[in-house]
């Protein structure tokens, strides 16, 4: 599902995707999660001297998730195989999903993971500066002056406000050279 192009025309809409396939995959994941919860709860203890053990609630939750996920999976598979296809087409306005662009989704998730990975080695200020410049100039196609000003405010400015005035600690670099520079 989805599209990897970045043009507005390539944005994926509810009409262009096949929701049942993803629904079936998610239903199967829910069922697997339920089974995992049941298996995980068995090592925790169902009942102890004090009453219900740590595994009591997760076990019943696992059973519920397995049953509900299984029912959903069966419904999706049956609807998928339905020759008339009426079930597939019946997507109400309430269930219509907003537009998204798969390449932008991947870029956002990837950049956030890279940012999280860089925060402790090179510190908040440099990591956030590069992150914001990427989002403003590359993804947002904003001009360099505006991008640099916003990126400096969002990185160095925000760091100063949070660490000095709000006493919220933000990470500084673990590399001695950068740390000595106050980064």
């Amino acid at each position: 599902m989805g599209s990897s192009k970045t043009t507005p025309d390539a944005a994926v809409t509810a009409e262009h995707r096949s929701p049942r396939r993803l629904d079936a995959v998610v239903a199967a994941l829910v069922t697997c999660l339920g089974v995992a919860a049941i298996l995980g709860s068995r090592t925790l203890g169902y009942w102890v001297e004090l009453g219900p053990g740590p595994g009591f609630f997760p076990l019943w939750l696992g059973v519920a998730l397995t049953l509900l996920g299984g029912i959903w999976l069966v419904m999706e598979v049956r609807a998928w195989r339905s020759p008339s296809g009426t079930d597939v087409a019946e997507v109400s306005a309430e269930e219509a999903t907003p537009e998204y662009d798969l390449s932008t989704v991947i870029a956002i998730l990837g950049s956030l993971c890279v940012l999280a990975a860089c925060l402790e080695p090179i510190g908040y200020q440099l990591s956030m500066l590069v992150f914001l410049l990427y989002h403003l100039m590359v993804l947002g196609r904003r001009g360099p002056v505006l991008s640099i000003v916003i990126a400096l405010c969002g990185s160095f400015g925000v760091f100063t406000i949070f660490t000095r005035f709000l006493t919220v600690p933000l990470p500084t670099s673990s590399i001695p050279f950068l740390r000595d520079l106050g980064l």
Binding site: G51, P52, E99, I108, L112, L132
Partner: protein, 500 residues
């Protein structure tokens, strides 16, 4: 000294220039902190407690209390404008509030939320003055079985809330409960589903989860287009006569719900918001519009959560029991300032207690006077180009997630739940049940296990105790009515309630 004389003296002290100034600063700071996604009023109060240690205790508590309800309003602003709830209680407001923003009615939503919050907060504070003692005695009768049964009412209402697909609503609720199971088991002290990471011993913090599934999830789901509507003009900020006529009954009902539920220690204000919203779905003349930008969908939860927040002071003042995490932080501020909340505070520090109670009235009024005229300023956020706004939001959601426990793991948690929120939107799984059971999960499990410990494993305890039985019967009736109503609607070919 009778109650009203004491309250009059409290007003005298609360309206002193110094206390008025601190209430104003608290309202402003709280609103700004509430706007920052992931920080909210609870974290905001916790951050600012050290700053109040050098202050006069009364002024310190007045300022922190103002931060508390100012933060709740700030959370409303981000819920309505950006679909990012600052706190769990604002999650319900996202549903219709954000839809109103997409329709260019953000100003009306924020003004209605401000007025509703003021009315709900004032009614709850009046309840605190008039009926604190007898109502606190009723709260004392709520044991673990009654608490569990009361939460069952909330869960039964969830079924009504999720409307068309009960199956998907239940799956979402179970997933929320499962996430809430992560951490050290409170009774046995064993780690559960922590993947061997000490970071998860305290459980998965709901702030990165909320920020992920609502904030990041929404930005991912709309990444193919710039969905920001235009900033409203001044005329568009004011509710019209229809808005006032439609929101007034919702505000009235929600004030009562929030005030009563707020008395019960341990019940989150998210429950009050949920009950108020669900009530509107059952009784409102425009219930079919809920979920699609109905004014009642903003008025009811916002009124209820502010009424709840103010009513939650009753168990704190009369029993010394914090009714919510935010009130627990406030209780910490009392203790830091050498004051122990509880019944003895009325006799040992009557002036302080009544000044703080009077300041709740003053603070609610200040919040209204401050925020309704500033709605235009808040909605100017919409005039900022979306790519710029998105980059700034990313910076704040990263900080908000990191600041919870100063760990990058929470940023990964936020990113993961952003993906979960994105997938939920694609397959039509509702988000609200997951969020609400995530927050209430530990309380639900705790009450169930404590009840079974008391009864030595017998589930009969839930029907042997009259109050618990009544709550359970109400839950069953709500469930039956929701399922029956939904079935009837389908047979008649009428639209069912909107998905969350």
């Amino acid at each position: 000294m009778d109650t009203f004389t004491a309250l009059a003296e409290g007003f005298g002290a609360a309206l002193s220039p110094q206390n008025l100034l601190f209430a104003l600063i608290g309202c402003l700071l709280g609103t700004i902190l509430g706007i920052l996604p992931g920080i909210g009023s609870t974290a905001g109060m916790a951050i600012l407690i050290p700053l109040t240690l050098a202050m006069d205790p009364t002024s310190a508590i007045i300022m922190l209390a103002a931060i508390f309800y100012g933060g709740a309003y700030g959370g409303t602003i981000t819920s309505v404008l950006l679909n990012i709830p600052g706190e769990g209680e604002s999650a319900i407001t996202c549903i219709d509030g954000y839809q109103m923003t997409l329709r260019g009615r953000a100003g009306v939503a924020l003004t209605t939320a401000g007025v509703g919050s003021f009315i709900g907060g004032t009614i709850a504070t009046l309840a605190l003055v008039v009926a604190a003692q007898p109502l606190a005695e009723l709260g004392l009768r709520i044991g673990p079985p009654e608490f569990f049964s009361l939460v069952m009412i909330g869960l039964a209402l969830l079924v009504g809330l999720v409307g068309r697909s009960v199956l998907k609503g239940l799956i979402s609720a179970c997933l929320g409960l499962l996430i809430a199971m992560v951490g050290i088991d409170p009774v046995m002290g064993l780690p559960r589903f922590t993947f061997g990471l000490p970071h998860f011993f305290d459980g998965i913090s709901y702030v990165p989860v909320l920020v992920g599934i609502f904030g990041l999830g929404e930005m991912l789901a709309t990444s193919g287009a710039a969905p920001r509507p235009k900033a409203p003009t001044l005329r568009e900020l004011l509710p019209n006569r229809t808005d006032v006529r439609r929101s007034a009954p919702a505000i009235g009902r929600a004030s009562g719900i929030g005030t009563v539920i707020g008395l019960i220690p341990g019940v989150s204000s998210a429950i009050s918001s949920l009950l108020a919203y669900s009530t509107e779905k059952k009784v409102s003349r425009h219930r079919d519009e809920l979920g699609q930008g109905a004014i009642e969908g903003v008025a009811a939860p916002e009124t209820a959560n502010n009424a709840h927040s103010n009513a939650a002071f009753i168990p704190l003042f009369t029993l010394g029991i914090p009714a919510s995490p935010a009130i627990a932080v406030l209780m910490g501020a009392f203790l830091q300032n050498g004051l122990t909340p509880g019944p003895q505070l009325f006799s040992s520090e009557p002036e302080l207690v009544w000044t703080i109670i009077a300041s709740l009235f003053v603070g609610n009024l200040l919040l209204l006077l401050l925020n309704v005229p500033l709605v235009g300023l808040w909605t100017r956020i919409l005039a900022i180009p979306y790519s710029v706004l998105r980059a700034v939001i990313f910076a704040f959601i990263v900080i908000g997630s990191y600041a919870v426990s100063n760990s990058v793991i929470d940023i990964y948690v936020m990113v993961f739940f952003g993906l979960v929120g994105f997938v939920f939107r694609q397959v039509g799984l509702p988000l609200a049940p997951l969020v609400l059971t995530l927050i209430l999960g530990p309380f639900i499990e705790g009450a169930l296990r404590e009840s079974l410990q008391i009864s030595q494993g017998s589930f009969a305890i839930f029907i042997d105790r009259p109050l618990s039985l009544v709550f359970l019967l109400v839950a069953v009736l709500i469930l039956a009515a929701s399922l029956f109503g939904s079935g009837l609607k389908r047979k008649a070919g009428l639209p069912t309630d909107a998905e969350v």
